[in-house]
Symmetry: D2
Subunit: 302 residues, 4 copies
């Protein structure tokens, strides 16, 4: 299949590579052009528009809503190059409003939009083990399926409205953030009573929760291993903000998400925005007086 | 072994029964005497003191701190009957302060105290599949081991201070309460976007979290199945209070626990105290306007 | 002075009327044109652009950021009619980002922007007793002063950057929302112990806080008088969202604002968005089981 | 009148002094006996019991519930010396449960209990400007009135149940704590936008709230003046805990109080427990990265 692929970050690069290996014909675009040179056997476009030109399916895997707007909807954006009848599969974790807007804008041009955010960190992307949550018109989903199969271990279709895929993905990230925050608090409590976080984790996750997510994040937190980031803390903050916006639009109070948001901000204020989002748990330790602040100097104005 | 056993509730009864089957000689006490008649082949004591008299190990499995104080420390309490050199294994989820106080009081009488709270609901108690978190003097723990083996699938020793077992257990229940609350919020969000909670659960837990705890509680919440209670909501509230107290004593802010506490109170105010604690999740749905209140009438004074 | 005035809501209408009485020459615009007929002796424009044409100062007093964007920045918006050298005084409570953007857009056209949100409810607007918080270039502020004097009892200049006026106003509304929420909780507690909210208010505000704000809002809450709204609950939600955004942009965790936001959403979910924002306090009473829900029927999807 | 007076702290000492000046005959007790020497013309008792012996009215003004239990209810406590028919006026801010228990214990001995906590800091105590919130049997209240008049500027009777006075006082302190916390957040936000807290206070309190409480606490916070403490932060934590307990006993969720509690704990964990409780506001500044931590060293275990 002829595929346009925009966004070669820590997720996008291995995803594009898996598509190439599966025999698809790729035309890629990345703001920092050098990233594209890490992929052999693909065509490198000079603009998002060029990447989409002639594609049967356009895939975007970018940092956030703003990047998607700039790459797809702005003048000289991908939407102008994409042929009528083609499909855009947006795999970035987007807000539900932008998902709805993309569906509308593509529809107006005789194109189709599929929301297809993924669960999985860069190692899962490399191993083609992502879980893809998809929503959109049935025919368009069908069109994307061979591509999804090359990048993930399964596709979960949740409806025809791309905003629904956004909400499922956001709800998932919200549950992860809530679990990280709760672990941070539980670990701080345990430490004050002389119990090692790793030991608490072993018992509570090993015997009760038995979740690989608690295991993995709990391990990162217990060992203070926040670099290199699998998923940056400031992206976690972004997702929690999108969760809160999705809630606000339908009048859903989400106090756990609100709490997580404030903790993310406290982490960012300490300069931890580019650590792994598991570092959120360190805010609880600092609040309990367990870990020293790492601020280089008091910020006076901002 | 000669075992005194106090507390034949939904957890204690099957635990005592498993001890009896394993060949131990039991003398049981329960406030509501009739409960004891469900156990054959055991001696029924007329007071907590009598239950402890002559025992090598005394086991208590009661509702809360107050019940333990009344059964063990009050006049005619078990502590007066327990022989010097015997061990008291407290399997109730206790506050860390009462755990410390029991250790001191038993010590003063030449007895030993082991904190041994359990993870598992009544079905796990029946199947002898509990996980026992134990802390206390090594020799006393050794003494209890055959009994623990008859009731559970494993013992996790966390230290010599019984308060440590209390904290591990409380931290575990806190993580469960946090997960229930977060699921309640995520489900409310999903419903507002036309996504079934069961479907969200299938994706997020089935593909990402992969935890039997999310699976079990998520199922109860998605189906609104809160009766009969495996663990009563008002006991969950009690445990969160104990978590907060443990935090307060060592200056650990626990905002997720604070949030859960307020949600538990909102549930109790609606008359849900005797539902399964998974009903906590319903508070989020009501707050979002999704489920109708079930209050029979406005309470004016309390 | 020749004044363009856009937005004749419950605040804008009496403000414009006070300007007219002070002898200024007004050209007004309101989406619902009929509102303008309540003002005699003013010219009624057919578009925002027309209202601004020929004005020395343009005043906008609209519902929210979106309305300001539509009336000022959209095609045929006021910015196209406003002469070079004229001043736009934005008196709506805006987000800090839109304030900054307006300053930039006006600057590009040789116009000046002053942020000038107000404290005061409609009765204060009628009595020309508003407090105006202003920020902008000194000369532009001077230009606006006779107008501000006709509408308010004082002007507080907080800086040269219009975003600063936005932040002061938002911080003020945040403190009000926090006070309303706290009163709601204190009143719920008091009621459960047989103490009338009005009595608690009399003691705590009458003797300790001694604030007209607590007095006024406390009275509304104690008497359940939420209609007609002086300031709509959904506008309070909007302002709290803007507070949170201002915090997020500079990494300021604001947990009290987060809490208020969730309470506002719970109120909106119950259909109280058009009550006075003092109704926020009712959420606490409902959560405590004191007041019955007023939902007409369970919402199933939204 | 013959008055027993127990507790000569920063509040009790000036209160006792005002009673003495009004011509009452005092017998005082304080744990640290030296404090009593600052009062001339009073008898100094060797035990709480002795202080109460022969008194018509016993007044207690102690740090917290535990101190009251030890001084009044423990063996050799004041209750044993107090004559039948005498009145105990408890002026400490107590939990509602201890207030109820004192009423019962005194009743059993033919004595009467009046709950009479006060609003006001040490300077108000010295100036006999306290506000006294009283609840108890009418005749007993009447008996205390001349004493209350000598210590305060007014008495607010809220009912016959001493627990009601406790709840009114706790609700008042809760509103103060909520105001301090909200100011802390608003100030942190303002600082990040280059607005001085003192300037924000001047506008928002000077023009809108117009409360001496915001003025006084706002000033302390804006100037970072937390020593000497008028009311210690750890006593504020204690009161918020009592508020939460009062709420819990009647199923009242109090999320603002929960939030304040967590903030108090974060302050205590930083070693600020003996600063003025206005220092609570500094937690918000630290969370926003504005002020540096002052922890001497990372605490590893507690």
């Amino acid at each position: 299949m002829r595929v346009g692929f925009i966004g070669l970050g820590s997720m996008g690069l291995p995803m594009a590579d898996n598509l190439r290996r599966a025999g698809h014909e790729l035309c890629v675009y990345n703001r920092t052009r050098a990233r594209a040179s890490e992929l052999s056997g693909v065509r490198v476009a000079g603009s998002p528009r060029e990447a989409a030109t002639g594609a049967e399916v356009l895939i975007t895997m970018l940092a956030d809503d703003t990047a998607v707007e700039e790459m797809v909807l702005a003048p000289d954006g991908a939407i102008e190059g994409l042929p009528r009848g083609a499909v855009h599969a947006g795999m970035t974790t987007l807000g539900h409003n932008l998902a709805a807007r993309l569906a509308a804008e593509h529809g107006r041009r005789g194109q189709q939009y599929v929301g297809a955010p993924v669960f999985g960190r860069p190692d899962a992307a490399r191993a083609a083990k992502l879980w893809i949550v998809a929503a959109g018109p049935a025919a368009a989903l069908e069109r994307c399926r061979p591509l999804f199969d090359a990048m993930g271990q399964g596709v979960e279709v949740v409806g025809e409205d791309p905003a629904q895929a956004a909400v499922v993905k956001l709800a998932g990230n919200f549950l992860l953030a809530a679990a990280i925050e709760a672990m941070g608090e539980a670990f701080a409590l345990a430490r004050k009573y002389g119990i090692e976080p790793a030991r608490l984790l072993e018992i509570v996750n090993g015997r009760v929760l038995r979740s690989p997510v608690y295991e993995n994040y709990g391990r990162l937190i217990a060992e203070g291993r926040f670099e290199p980031p699998g998923f940056r803390l400031r992206h976690g903050l972004k997702d929690v903000r999108l969760v809160l916006e999705a809630g606000e639009d339908r009048a859903v109070p989400l106090p756990t998400a609100s709490l997580a948001r404030d903790r993310f901000l406290a982490a960012v204020a300490r300069g931890w925005g580019d650590l792994d989002w598991a570092a959120l748990a360190r805010v609880a330790a600092v609040a309990a007086g367990l870990d020293r602040e790492t601020l280089p100097a008091p910020a006076t104005a901002r």
